[in-house]
């Protein structure tokens, strides 16, 4: 489709003005520290991994939120996302299906999931594919418990993902990007930097080049996912990674992808790798 020079000029001007936006109280990310429940010290800022050129420091989304929102995550009884964790715990203990097994029947106490969130998504040798936490959960349900898979972005799935994230809170994200994971990582990286849609924005346009600036009234973060599932004030519920990706792409007026599909699998690996070193925060509280 041919775009006239004038149209393209307007497009770029609109994009530039929208993105540079109102740099209000400067782009100040604060220097607060996140100590959860007064006990668990979270790493919310750290040196960017070597393979990320565009950032010197990686910063958790927590820092980009208002003081009031930050406070909501600091105590497990202020954090409404913990309601989802409670529901996930109930599901963990619920015996079901023809095998009459609960998650606990095989995995024991959920604390056995310690460390799992930090390496997701990862390459699964047997399946010869990149698997997310949701894939592992559904695989257990369909192959071992013999029950129906949960919808990829459904409430029960997101609750379970939050429960498992809690077991790794405070531990640094550490996804592998080499070996069999490499092709998926490359695909994700290309997606991250490719401009798409009516506004011709890539993930990097906002989350790398403009992190810290305001887009209208939103304080742009680096788009890290170490805090997912995230309890969003906007919809007052837990949101999973692919659900957020889908909304983000749609909001840039591009055709978005299917949660659970191959594009978002690759993107999740790449985006997770951009946050390697940040502590698992799930469930976090965001706007």
């Amino acid at each position: 489709m041919k775009i006239s020079n004038l149209h393209r000029f307007v497009q770029i001007a609109v994009t530039a003005s929208v993105v540079s936006g109102v740099a209000s109280i400067a782009n100040a990310q604060d220097n607060d520290s996140l100590v959860l429940n007064g006990e668990i010290e979270m790493v919310t800022r750290t040196a960017a991994p070597a393979y990320i050129d565009g950032l010197d420091e990686v910063i958790s989304g927590w820092h980009f939120r208002s003081d009031e929102t930050q406070a909501l995550q600091m105590d497990d009884f202020d954090n409404s996302g913990m309601l989802g964790v409670d529901a996930g715990q109930e599901a963990w203990d619920t015996v079901q299906g023809p095998e009459q097994k609960s998650c606990a029947s095989c995995h024991g106490d959920v604390s056995s999931m310690e460390g799992v969130r930090t390496v997701m998504p990862k390459y699964n040798e047997e399946a010869a594919d990149l698997w997310t936490l949701e894939d592992y959960i559904n695989n257990c349900r369909t192959e071992r418990q013999n029950v129906e898979a949960w919808g990829y972005t459904s409430g029960p799935m997101t609750n379970m993902a939050a429960l498992i994230a809690v077991q790794s809170r405070g531990m640094p994200m550490n996804v592998a990007i080499d070996g069999p994971a490499a092709p998926f990582w490359e695909q994700g990286r290309e997606m991250y930097y490719t401009r798409t849609g009516v506004l011709e924005l890539s993930c990097a346009s906002c989350h790398e080049q403009s992190a810290g600036l305001h887009i209208r009234a939103d304080h742009l973060s680096q788009g890290q996912i170490n805090g997912f599932p995230a309890y969003r004030l906007k919809n007052a519920k837990l949101n999973g990674i692919h659900a957020r990706f889908k909304g983000c792409v749609r909001d840039t007026k591009a055709e978005t992808y299917k949660p659970g599909g191959p594009e978002f699998h690759a993107l999740e690996l790449y985006v997770a790798s951009r946050g390697n070193g940040l502590s698992v925060e799930g469930p976090s509280v965001r706007n």
Binding site: D75, D76, F77, L83, A87, A236
Partner: protein, 109 residues
């Protein structure tokens, strides 16, 4: 009864006699405000938790009247005086007639 409504309450396990403690309560509830419309343009009727009460050993600590402007998953933080060992009981009442309860014991040293 609205489904999946679960409380989550924080009460310290122990206190000194007469101490003032902080209590935090959360309950998972949609709090349908009565302001939203469905896809046909009809108002979705209000369906909220309308009352929350906290008592201790039969005496009242606090009673809250809620309206549709209380956010989904109603949260309350307040303080209670603990005269002796005993049990806090928490009660939420739903527009649909259901009652949800929780309780937490506290030991006074």
């Amino acid at each position: 009864m609205a489904s999946g409504v679960k409380p989550r309450v924080k009460v310290p396990k122990t206190a000194a006699a007469g101490e003032v403690i902080t209590i935090k309560t959360l309950i998972s509830h949609k709090m349908e405000s009565g302001q939203r419309k469905d896809s046909d343009g009809n108002i979705i009727p209000q369906s909220i938790i309308n009352t929350f009460t906290c008592d201790f050993n039969g005496q009242n600590v606090i009673n809250v009247e809620l309206h549709g402007a209380i956010s989904t998953n109603p949260y309350f933080q307040f303080e209670a005086t603990v005269p002796e060992s005993g049990e806090f009981t928490f009660t939420w009442q739903d527009d649909d007639g259901s009652t949800y309860t929780d309780s937490k014991s506290i030991a006074v040293s």
